[in-house]
């Protein structure tokens, strides 16, 4: 992820940083060994570097610390055992939220369709008061002046939210 203009970072350093960020400093809850300036965190960073030089995989290195401190030492829950639940709930929540929004909108709209009958009655030509051509003309002029002017402003965003 080298990036021109920014500082060149080797792949190994990126890997070390990622690993360090995934391991918690056991004596400073909530802080990763990457973040913590505690002495112990410093030693643990050295171990990570050493193990990488010895050719260990990320999982092996994490496993090494889990053996010593338990799963609590990982900054994120493992993707096995109870940890799966931690990871599973957010996507399930997303699905539930999408369904909830869709269902709400669907119900709100169906109620609207139910109302629509009456609205369409209102729109029925026969219910519009009969206007003589002159009246209609006068009304249209009035409408143009009063409403259209405002609506055009509305469209440009003066008035409407």
């Amino acid at each position: 992820m080298a990036c021109s203009g920014l500082i060149e970072v080797t792949d190994e350093e990126t890997r070390i940083k990622k690993l360090n960020k995934s391991i918690m400093c056991p004596v400073c809850p909530g802080e990763s060994i990457d973040q913590s300036q505690n002495e112990l965190a410093g030693y643990m960073r050295d171990i990570v570097r050493e193990k990488i030089d010895q050719g260990n995989s990320d999982e092996e290195i994490r496993g090494y610390f889990v053996d010593r401190y338990g799963p609590v030492v990982l900054m994120e829950p493992p993707s096995s055992g109870l940890g799966v639940l931690a990871w599973a709930v957010p996507p399930v929540g997303l699905v539930v939220a999408v369904i909830a929004v869709w269902l709400t909108l669907y119900l709100m709209r169906r109620r609207n369709l139910g109302d629509k009958g009456s609205r369409e009655d209102m729109n029925d030509e026969s219910l519009v008061p009969e206007l003589s051509p002159e009246e209609l003309k006068r009304y249209s002029a009035l409408f143009e002046r009063n409403v259209m002017a405002r609506e055009s402003k509305t469209k440009t965003g003066d008035e409407d939210q």
Binding site: E76, L82, G83
Partner: protein, 673 residues
């Protein structure tokens, strides 16, 4: 002085109880005199609590260690100016601060409500009094900051050294006020509900006003907290998804949803129940925040005001939630919508989606915060839910939110058609893709980073398009550009103020994305005279100065720093050791530019003269802090009264009422954008 304060607290407790009782009675019996009496009762709590606070601060300033709280949170060595910080640095004092701040804000809102919402305000005063009564009760019976000791110690235990920072003068007060201020829109909403007027929408303007005030305080509190962490805690970061940080973020998320969805009720008479649900959720989460900060069950680096009374807060939170739900159910019938949804493709629908997304992020954050307790109870294994989890889970959701922030405001109310949407989105989407390509050309290879920048591009382009469209149309009606743009902003303040806030959120987003993907950190061991390089920065460690103060030993390193060939002068990171606390506080030295921060912080000074420094280059962090004033301005613009426009809107709504039902009024109805 202390005795006067103690009497004042007892008096405040009794007056508040009176105001609560009389407020509800006034609301139920519709008695004007009762309502007035409740109001004046609430007002008079303010001077009483001011007296109590003054007596505590007086005790701090005069080193009156006969007061237990003063002895625990101050000492002779503490600079006197920190009496203000010491006042709320412990549990009991922070409760008094919360009570005082809430009584002042509540009194102001009571004054405003009394003329605007005559039926709702007695109930609202009642609800506010109950909330205040809880705090005063805890102060009086469980954690009295004015409690006296029988044996007076020579010196106090001192203030937590991490709090000795000027950020501490404003961050905790803002944060605590932010959390408790959620109670004000909550009281307005619940008051309207109790008065049976939740469906009349008359409370909406006041609910929105106080909701936004509360939102603004919460936001500034969060940003100040991040800034404090960045400049003083000295780990080079600003947000760690720590339980206490999360507990402040959750009510913010719910309040953000509320201040948006209240607009749907204001404009369309919809979402009445939903707004109630949102404000109740917000207040519940705010209470949860106070619980977690006060000796909650989750380990955190922040819980300086630790105590076992967190559980009382939890119980009260449960009770508040229960009562709110009961009232909601009893008044359910009054909350039917006026308007109805016409299409899935409408701004109303987008608002609902956005609201859900905010709640989902709050839920996921809550889940991650409490999961360790859960796993321990179920499986007996302690797990950590840290930064990587939240970044992976909340990061994409937040990006989706920024995307919705870009396209949502472009959707018209009521109903849109696909061609219309495509026309509106053409430019923003094109611009977003362009930004993505440009970032790729400039060497960004991280897919998530490119994607994030694209989405920020869409959001910015959407706002600029709206501004350009409005300005052009005003221009075409004869206004010169320099007049057209400010007049456009002034004409619909809730909307254009909102856009300014959205721009600030994009600034914040760009800062967070860039600095979390491209921060570079090295730990270097140096002895005086050594020179090291990180990126374009060259820095020479010159020497260390030791200074002894009454309460601490400070070691300040001096660095000379160059960026490329250009000298940046000297930088002075320091480390202070507080022997009485066995604690060290670090002070980073930061050279900040628009593009990146060069950050130096000492980790350790060794006996042999060598020292370990952490050196960081954090790109674009400046934008995070710069977003704060923009955000405040936008919110204030959005809140500023707009009498001319509201008058016009009134006349327009009269006009359309007259012509409603005729086909001729239809063309206008669907095109409001």
């Amino acid at each position: 002085m202390v005795e006067i304060g103690q009497v004042a607290i007892v008096a405040a407790f009794m007056v508040t109880a009176y105001a609560g009782f009389v407020g509800f009675a006034g609301g139920a019996l519709n008695g004007r005199d009762l309502a007035t009496s409740a109001r004046w009762g609430f007002y008079s709590v303010v001077p009483l609590l001011l007296i109590a606070t003054a007596s505590l601060i007086y005790a701090f300033v005069n080193n009156d260690f006969s007061v237990k709280y003063v002895a625990e949170n101050s000492n002779l060595a503490m600079p006197r100016i920190y009496a203000w910080v010491a006042f709320y640095s412990g549990n009991a004092g922070s409760l008094l601060y919360i009570a005082l701040a809430f009584s002042i804000m509540g009194a102001i809102s009571t004054k405003v409500l009394s003329t605007r919402l005559p039926y709702t305000s007695p109930y609202a005063v009642g609800v506010m009094s109950i909330v205040l009564l809880f705090f005063l009760g805890v102060i009086l019976f469980l954690a009295n900051p004015l409690e006296q000791l029988s044996v007076i110690p020579e010196d106090g235990q001192g203030i937590n050294p991490l709090l000795i920072h000027f950020g501490m003068f404003i961050h905790p007060p803002f944060q605590m006020l932010g959390l408790i201020s959620v109670a004000i829109p909550f009281s307005v909403a619940l008051g309207a509900l109790l008065a049976g007027r939740g469906g009349r929408d008359e409370w909406v303007d006041q609910g929105r006003l106080w909701g936004m005030v509360s939102w603004l305080i919460l936001t500034v509190g969060l940003l100040l907290g991040a800034w404090w962490a960045y400049t003083i805690l000295g780990w080079g970061g600003y947000w760690a998804w720590d339980p206490v940080e999360n507990s402040a973020l959750m009510p913010w998320l719910a309040m953000t949803a509320f201040v948006h969805s209240i607009m749907v009720q204001k404009r369309r008479g919809m979402f009445r129940m939903w707004n109630m649900v949102l404000i109740i959720t917000s207040f519940t989460l705010a209470q949860l925040g106070m619980f977690i900060n006060r000796g909650g069950p989750v380990p955190s680096v922040h819980s300086f005001a630790e105590s076992t009374m967190g559980w009382i807060f939890l119980a009260i939170m449960g009770l508040t939630l229960f009562l709110s739900v009961v009232i909601f159910i009893l008044r359910y019938e009054t909350l039917k919508s006026r308007g109805s949804l016409e299409s899935f493709l409408s701004r109303e629908a987008a608002f609902l989606g956005q609201n859900m997304l905010f709640l989902l992020i709050a839920f996921v954050t809550l889940w991650g915060t409490v999961f360790p307790i859960f796993s321990e109870a179920v499986d007996d294994t302690t797990m950590t839910i840290g930064q990587p989890f939240f970044n992976k889970v909340n990061g994409p959701l937040m990006l989706l939110l920024i995307f919705m922030m870009g396209v949502g405001p472009l959707l018209p109310w009521r109903r849109a058609t696909w061609p219309m949407i495509l026309r509106m989105l053409r430019v923003p989407l094109g611009f977003g893709i362009l930004i993505g390509v440009l970032t790729w050309i400039f060497g960004v290879r991280e897919p998530w980073a490119i994607f994030s920048f694209s989405i920020c591009g869409i959001a910015v382009a959407g706002i600029l398009q709206e501004w350009a469209r409005g300005t052009m149309s005003r221009h075409s009606r004869g206004e010169p550009f320099y007049q057209a743009f400010p007049r456009l902003l002034a004409a619909n303040r809730p909307r254009y103020g909102g856009y300014v806030v959205h721009l600030a959120i994009v600034m914040l987003g760009v800062g967070i994305v860039t600095s979390s993907f491209y921060d570079v950190q090295r730990d270097v061991v140096m002895k005086p005279g050594d020179t090291e390089k990180l990126g374009k920065y060259t820095f020479t460690f010159i020497d260390v100065t030791e200074r002894t103060f009454a309460d601490r030993l400070e070691e300040t390193a001096r660095f000379e720093v160059w960026s490329g060939g250009r000298s940046l002068g000297y930088m002075y990171p320091y480390r202070a050791f507080y022997p009485e606390f066995r604690m060290a506080a670090t002070g980073g030295a930061i050279n900040s530019t628009l593009l990146e921060d060069f950050y130096l912080v000492p980790s350790e000074f060794r006996e042999d003269g060598q020292a370990v420094f952490r050196v960081l280059v954090n790109p674009m962090v400046w934008w995070i802090w710069a977003s704060c004033p923009v955000l405040v301005l936008g919110t204030l613009l959005s809140l500023s009264p707009n009498s001319r426009a509201s008058r016009r809107r009134l006349s327009l709504s009269n006009l359309s009422k007259e012509s409603s039902g005729t086909p001729i009024s239809r063309p206008g109805a669907g095109t409001g954008s």
